[in-house]
Point group: C2
Chain length 214, copies 2
């Protein structure tokens, strides 16, 4: 059976599309790093899931660390940007908090791997691949909101620093446990659209009720 000439129907692999190749590597790498962290991640596993040769990783990203840095950068980009353009200054603390939380939860719902990536980076590498701007500034924003709420009297007497951490925990821990608890029947997977929306709602309710002055 003859094929149309000038068309490689069989042997689809050598597409020679640089962008596409990088994209699949990055996607596979994000998954691997999210589950295992930098050290325990295997370049071979990353390559295997893409279909492209392992050496492509080194061609495009120099080495494992280069790939890791790129994954870290891209994973955080969306979150950083979203939170930066929030304009919370002129809002009341409780509205600001709700908007902040909704934005945060939207981001991580879109990219559920982000919390585990952050976690591995924080625990394993003590955050050494983070620029001082990144996740630090996230917490700073939240601390400020809480501080203003306390002084304004709309939030109860809480420690802004400690509470900021706990609030983040309420939002993000869900995604850390997700991998472990997801062996559930039906459409109760923790990362299904319905469950993610519910988590967003539940987390925001819990936090707002938790900080409010009674």
């Amino acid at each position: 059976m003859a094929r149309p000439k000038n068309k490689k129907v069989e042997n689809v692999k050598p597409v020679r599309d640089a962008e596409a190749t990088q994209a699949v590597i990055l996607m596979s790498a994000e998954e691997e790093f999210a589950q295992h962290g930098f050290t325990a991640a295997r370049t071979e596993t990353i390559a295997a899931k893409t279909g492209v040769a392992k050496s492509m990783i080194y061609y495009y990203f120099k080495d494992k660390e280069g790939l890791y840095r790129e994954v870290l950068k891209r994973s955080h980009a969306d979150l950083i940007q979203t939170l930066q353009k929030l304009e919370l200054e002129h809002l009341s603390p409780d509205t600001a908090l709700e908007i902040f939380l909704r934005a945060l939860l939207d981001c991580v719902s879109r990219n559920p791997k982000l919390p585990t990536i952050m976690f591995h980076e924080a625990v394993q590498n003590q955050g050494k691949y983070y620029q001082h701007s990144d996740s630090v500034s996230i917490d700073t924003t939240l601390i400020k909101i809480l501080e203003q709420g306390v002084t304004a009297g709309v939030f109860r007497q809480l420690d802004p620093f400690q509470s900021a951490i706990n609030v983040m925990g309420t939002c993000l821990f869900y995604f850390i446990g997700a991998g472990n608890i997801q062996q559930f029947p039906q459409d109760k997977r923790l990362l299904s659209k319905a469950m993610l929306e519910q988590h967003t709602h539940e987390a925001i309710s819990l936090i707002l009720a938790g900080v409010r002055q009674v």
Copy 2:
């Protein structure tokens, strides 16, 4: 300067105390596994921090996995036991919740490495080293308390399952971030006694206020 005879002051190492050797290995291993998880942990690093030879790990624990299992078991023992003997059945849901939370936070404050060990196990290994009894039962207890509180009307309308996860997050996330955020001046280390007590207080306050019916 002569030393008392029959006393090895110099060359302290060959003590030949089996229990002591195992103990130092386990302590060092717990630290290493807490930071890096099973795969990324290095037996050489574990041994180096103890002063005993690397081969002692294999002598006492067969292999890296055997050591890991033992660390896992011991780390969880305290928590499992403490929560099992709580007797929460005859208490009102809000009192039960507070007691449960205080017990949980006491345990993890005594052993701050536990949350990161759990985390690594959940994310990296998808909980495969867990028996079905362990951390699952922790959450089950919490879910039951929340359910009873909702039906009794003392808690607001919340989803017990989702809220249980979020409550755990409020308590435990602190310890996950601790390694990363601890570069703080003075006695503001996140794992200092004062800060741990404050965290216990802040977390309980946030949760109780967050679930209560208004």
